[in-house]
Amino acid sequence: MKVKKKIKTIKVVVDKCNGCRACEMICSAFHANPQYSSNNPERSRIRVIRDPLKDIYVPVYAGEYTSAECMGRDKYVIDGKEYGECDFCRASCPSRTLFKEPDSGLPLKCDMCESDPPQEKPLCVQWCINEALVYEEREEEVEEGEMLGDVETGLEAMIDKYGLQKIADTVARISMSSKC
């Protein structure tokens, strides 16, 4: 069954990026627990892929986790600048550290800073006052279905890595010991 859904996106205007990485900083601060208590760009769900001498500045925000490496490793030349395929890809995948928690290795995904009360715009957009990041909303008809939350995305990655049985056993053991 199809339902109307608000689609939230961030338009990236690479020519306006000044490479300051404020988006990385504020993203990690927003997602810290307690909120804003710490920051660490390595935990960010947005990354500026930079190669300053080649004039490459591409802010990319994290999309879905993919459990398999992709086949492509091609290079693309746009306006005389050479980009690797990962420069555009929004997925966290087994072959790169991008969009993974530095401690656990679990995948990170952009949640558009959904919070209660809701933010007017995602924090990276608010902090990019050079307008390289533009928040957009539109309505679309989509198939009804549950979107995966953070925990589920992480669990899925763990299941891919260790197998369902091992994860289930571990969860059982942890819940047992935490009861004691």
Binding site: G19, C20, A29, Q35, S37, S38, P41, E42, P52, I129
Partner: protein, 654 residues
Amino acid sequence: MRYAETGFNLEVDLSRGSVDRVETDPGLTELHLGGLGTNARLLWDRVPADADPFSPENLLIFGTGLLCGTPAPGANRTIVTTLSPQTRLMAFSMMGGFFAPELKYAGYDKVVIRGRSPKLVYLWINNDKVEIRDASHLQGKGAGETAELLRQELKEPKAQVVSIGLAGENRVYYASIEQGRSSASRGGVGAVMGDKGLKAIVVRGTKDINVADPAKFMSLANDVLKYIQFRATNPIPGVPAILSGLGSPQEMAIHDESWHTENFAWGNARTRRKGFWTEEVEKTWRETQENARKRLISCYNCPMKCGATVSVPNTPVYMMKCYSKLTYTMAAMSDLEFGFQIAQKATEYGVDAFSAPQTMAFAVELYEAGILTDQNMPGFPTDNKERFYWLLDKIVRREGIGDILANGTYWAAQQIGKGAEAYAHNNIKKHEQLPLKLGMLNPIYFLMYSTGEKIGITQIEGQFPQAPFNTKEEREEFVKDWFQVPDEKFKQYFLDWEPRGENSNPYYPTVGMSCEIVDWMEKMHYIDDALGVCAGLSSFPLKPPYHMHNYPLFISAATGMDIDEAELSQIARRNRTLVRAINSRRGLRRADEKPPEDHWKKRFPELEEQLRDEYYKFKGWNSQGIPTKESLHELAMDFVGEDLERRGIIKNEG
């Protein structure tokens, strides 16, 4: 848990090849904050007063500011502190970029380098893993080239690198430390790095930086961002365009260079070219800049765009900031394209873009005056541009005359003799200054030039307008929203300041007012340098987003220390006094504190002495400019007073 800072320094002894992670004393943060403050404290505590800058016992400290790595916009400065080979005093050099936050995320507030490596090495800091590695394959490589090679070698594209070029390796007195898009240039910090046998420091960090009161801190940081946006659409009226906004001068964004090219002196800081900026020049220079500039770029977590990626024909791409765009052009009496081209080479060699072109122009002048001859300079080209390339190569290699010129104009003039001293006419404390030749003495600037220890005038000024406004209405308009003043009296000083008549330079602002104004400006710089906040968002522009009233709130929310304006003021004073004491101990006296003889056409010897006297008193220094025991006691630095007394630098006044 330590907030804002990591609480750990990395201590590296290159003689022994040892690396230690050392927990720091939180009490020192309360006394000095961090950055420059605690750097100065390390220098005072650990470097012998008579140490040679080129000796294993000299320290080379890379300090991050207290707020670096927190969400505070523009908090990204690395403060490099050591003894300068050129001034023989404390070197005072800082850079923006990305190194300081990365170091914090790796878990360190400072990297303290001591000793000297027998062979060229680099330091690889990867969170807790720190290694001293062989760098013999990088010998002679450019600073930027080195950074790229190391990122590839270590397979760490996200690592941040500080490095030296050939000038640093060869201990050129004005060698810089480069960081891709920024550099620590003044005072010869790159020469000390070269003397230690350290080619580069590479850092990669993936840890957290915590703040004590997150909600309060974020609300303050958001206010700063909002104010930056407000100022972008509301430039300050009544001042030249270059002074109406925020950030460091937007040299890479603006095309109109009438102000610099007509007011600053060309060549060896001598030739004013009034009427230089014609339509034709403007057209050519605009085209050159538009073609060369690829992108306006920023330092970490800062929306200002003070730098640019530059690409000119037949020259590798590089990044440039601020005024180095003009320094080579004007020293060589040349065009902008030449400036962009030679700056690439100079940046790779790693030289200070103030001192290097001035020293080269000085050599050309000596040659034209017959003091240097073809005997000293065999094969010296006739074309001025080629001469500059020739000199640059000789200097960074310390070949022939270059070996002497590599020591800067002051020392080179002494070595050359034959009247060359008269040509080294633009130094303060043995260091090349802005090429400015002005008319009437300005009392505020007289004090800043004379007593500043940062060896660069633009690093002291900023909060008070450089000149009076023409009409009372304009002045009234200016003070209306001037909430940054630490005290209302400054508004009145400005309102009463007239371009002509009784209330004009040199006797107005009065001696007393001048002391207070300079002290305020200087204080803000010392706070920025302890916090690691860029002066471009604070102490340098008029009406900035960071000021005396919100800084204590920032510091309290970041660290959990409870601090008010009076206490912050006292810390700034303590840091400033400590820097002075380090230099007093190394022989700095009143006689050293004077601007060049020809800096202003109209001088006022009596007034100048009075200004110095009063400012020293105001600062708690004696008539030689040395901190008194009483003032050191007030600042909880009795140990400094006792040391100065023991050495006979101050007398036992008790």
